[in-house]
């Protein structure tokens, strides 16, 4: 079980949260200028790194707020959690990034 540190409520069990996919995927500035391929890449294409990955989470049974977390996809270690208006912190996995 993951334990996530909600920026508003503190550490809670994973069962209280919903997962929201990759974080920091900006909506296109001018969606009408995109061709089908670019639109499909915006909607469907996501990074799949081995190591630290910034993702969105929502504290469903707590404060019901979205926030971001950096999680190591190989070790499941949650390296940092931060509010949506904060930049991604520069964190490294234990033993360095793969």
């Amino acid at each position: 079980m993951l334990r996530l540190n909600c920026p508003w409520c503190g550490p809670r069990d994973e069962t209280e949260f919903h997962y929201g996919g990759q974080a920091h995927v900006p909506f296109p500035a001018d969606p009408h200028a995109l061709d089908d391929r670019q639109w499909a890449e915006y909607v469907f294409y996501r990074d799949n790194p081995k190591g630290p990955f910034a993702e969105r989470w929502m504290h469903a049974t707590g404060c019901r707020r979205w926030f971001n977390a950096v999680r190591d996809t190989a070790t499941y270690q949650v390296l940092a959690t931060y509010r949506l208006d904060e930049p991604r912190p520069d964190v490294l996995s234990e033993g360095g990034n793969r």
Binding site: W8, C9, G10, R12, D13, T15, E16, A60, T61, G62, C63, R64, R65
Partner: protein, 209 residues
């Protein structure tokens, strides 16, 4: 809060209403355990509840705090009692004002205090019901299904948090040393009450060591 009052003698539509756990009242009473491992559960029906959303620190929030008679809680877990009402923290810009049945909900006054600024004041009394769990074994019962640390050094009387009990999302409010109030959605109340009755059963028998 005073003792639970069922206002089925009240005139008008109030006489027709039925609390979410009215059909389990007998079973809740029969589940009472006395003695050093005692625990009991009862429903506090028709509690007045108000959903309040406003930007904290804004002028509208200051007017609302004046109207409520207490500062809005700023942190997870905090509550702000003021007269018959208590304001519970639900989120960074969201609160629940809880008051005994029949209390004037203040909806109009708070709506006026908001004065058109971003936010909302909605009476949500029918959204949830209140279960009160009390007794020396109350924390042991909750520990069976709540992922939070309920030790007094972490969760002190007067604190309230949104969490889960078993699979049911609830607001868990510790009102006194051995007294907890659970606020599930009305549609989950039946399941939660049966879950609690089952969890309380073992305390009626001698402790297995």
């Amino acid at each position: 809060m005073a003792e639970p009052t069922v206002t089925d003698t009240a005139p008008g539509p109030a006489a027709l209403r039925r609390s979410p756990l009215a059909h389990l009242a007998d079973r809740l009473r029969d589940a009472t355990v006395t003695g050093p491992r005692g625990v009991s559960v009862s429903e506090w029906p028709y509690t007045t509840m108000l959903s309040l959303r406003v930007e904290p620190g804004s002028a509208a929030a200051a007017r609302i705090e004046k109207c409520l008679g207490a500062a809005l809680p700023a942190r997870c877990g905090e509550t702000a009692p003021a007269g018959p009402r208590t304001t519970l923290w639900l989120g960074p810009d969201e609160w629940l004002v809880v008051a005994p049945p029949g209390t004037a909900p203040l909806t109009a006054e708070l709506h006026e205090a908001l004065a058109g600024e971003p936010g909302s004041v909605v009476d949500v009394s029918a959204n949830r019901t209140v279960l009160e769990l009390r007794g020396p074994a109350a924390r042991d019962v909750l520990d069976k299904g709540c992922p939070l640390d309920l030790h007094p050094r972490v969760f002190t009387p007067g604190e309230a948090v949104s969490t889960q009990l078993g699979p049911v999302p609830v607001i868990l409010w510790r009102t006194a040393e051995d007294t907890y109030r659970l606020l599930p959605r009305s549609s989950f109340a039946d399941y939660l009450a049966r879950w609690l009755i089952d969890a309380m059963g073992e305390y009626a028998r001698p402790e297995v060591t």
